[in-house]
Subunit: 243 residues, 3 copies
């Protein structure tokens, strides 16, 4: 988190950068989920950020407000906090064949904590947002495009080139026009921070409850946090807990 | 309405139930419209509900807020109050071949009264919501899916199995995680009750006006409230009144 | 602008008209952009309208609120203020083969001024709205339909007949039911005027800045404001400025 925080701070203050693309170097994954093997205190002891929010939601909120266009390039699994980073970005483009998005947390007894309850309904409407959150299942590129979870799903062979061309194009525009236009979109479309904060609190409280601990324990026994089927098909596996 | 009210009350207070599916046992129909043969007083004399709203909008608002996931399984016509019940539910899945959704009321000189002016624009944007409400026409499953009127349209052969699997899946999750996550989505996505109440008042007033009474009279003469073409193609028939 | 203002005033006060269709008699164009050859004072000296907003945003806001259903029939390019007129209208139907929509302004160093930052995110969600505004590129009918930029894209051979049938249908309905229903949709879906006004101010300020003036100068040298490739593919050409 401190590493991402340094990037967000740079994006806020650099007077030249106009576009940032969030991409992954890990085959099959954009970004998946918290490290549930770490101590909760590692997260809860982090100082709040400049917005007054805890560090993770603080960083996500600041990405949305930065005077820079942010693009999530989603080639693999963008689930949990990975979905939340994508949702906090300005745009999302997904690999039609390989991208998977989800908020799997409710399936493990956890309330998501990085903003999806505030952001998903504004993006795709309440009905589809509730399906994503309550169904907690893996969603492929075609359905993510239909629902507006991503801007578009593109064929594997075209995605990188498309995003690169868009980023280079925007980078040729005037930074002040970009920043002022985005700020006006922010007014119309960003959830207030007061909606973001309670998600984090509900998330942290839910992880500590027996319902989540029991489900996380079974998931760990089955291979969570290790390369393999539980990580590759987390949506399926949270549906097999039946606790 | 008292029967539905009892169900809603049970959903609010039961500490085990996690999912409810609204389905229809009547071939070709989910739920269509008010009983215009009944006396208006039968409706207007009903006591307001716990929210302070009149009974029908009260029940719909309470379904949206209940700590239970509600799914509308739409196999036939979900029009008028049937569309409004579907819109108050958390998710909507439609039969691609047979489902018909509409708010046909404006076509009969009536202002819809159960929340669609508040709910449709938040689901599909203002432009498509105005088309649904002002066009007052029958809409099939494919277009309802494109517009986000329903989450998805599924083939007749897959719909029941899909909804059943989703309901069983959600029912295996932790009730507290479901309820808390839904409550946070509610904050981001539910219209305030102050938007719902004026719809009901405008609806009741409109039904009493000559413009609606004249149109309802012609519809009745042509077969409204009886099995047959007017009920089966109400969108077409409200377009043939030309009064 | 005074001509359009006269039309808007007539729509507000006529007690019979129920539907207005905005169409174009110019092959290939719905409406494109401001006249950058005119003096800025020609626009800025116009008196504010009845809403207190400057004349252009005032007229657009009043179209949205008029007790009349407005339909934009988009056969050609609806870009810049043409897109803004379409977005202020209640519904938009586009020619699938020939329609082009865009907010190209950021590509020329200009902040759009007629409401798209307030209206686009409410119609298609923040992510796709930011793509339209920051990408500043031409968008065809298929993608405009997927994004909800238009209600639907229809084949060239069907568009006129479809819009005509819809307009005639709505015109057969009761004006009071239309107006009251629309007013309730307005409450749920229109941006407050306080979001519209700053766009206009930011737009006017941006046009005067060197970043915009330099880009407009190059565009003019390449054929802007004359029939030809720059007007026909403005999205492409703002991507070729690289200033």
């Amino acid at each position: 988190m401190p590493q991402l925080n340094a990037i967000v701070t740079a994006l806020e203050s650099d007077d030249k950068v106009k576009v940032v693309v969030f991409d992954s170097a890990v085959e099959g994954f954009f970004l998946t989920h918290y490290d549930f093997l770490a101590k909760p205190e590692d997260t809860t002891n982090l100082p709040p950020g400049p917005t007054g929010l805890p560090m993770l939601p603080d960083m996500l909120v600041r990405i949305s407000r930065a005077p820079v266009v942010s693009i999530a390039l989603i080639r693999g699994r963008a689930t949990g906090v990975g979905s939340e980073l994508a949702l906090a970005s300005d745009m999302r483009f997904a690999n039609r064949e390989k991208a998977i998005l989800s908020q799997w947390e409710v399936g493990a007894g956890i309330v998501p904590g990085g903003g999806p309850m505030a952001r998903l309904p504004r993006l795709m409407g309440r009905g589809r947002a509730l399906e994503v959150l309550m169904g907690a299942d893996d969603m492929g590129g075609d359905l993510a495009e239909l629902y507006g979870y991503v801007n578009r799903a593109l064929p594997d062979s075209e995605l990188d080139e498309f995003v690169d061309a868009l980023a280079v194009r925007i980078a040729s525009f005037d930074k002040q026009a970009i920043a002022e236009t985005k700020r006006l979109v922010d007014i119309a479309s960003l959830p207030p921070d007061a909606e973001i904060c309670p998600e984090w609190q509900a998330c942290m409280a839910s992880i500590a409850r027996p319902a989540a601990q029991a489900r996380l324990k079974v998931l760990m026994e089955r291979g969570f946090h290790k390369p393999g089927d539980v990580e590759n098909r987390l949506g399926y596996h949270v549906g097999q807990l039946a606790i």
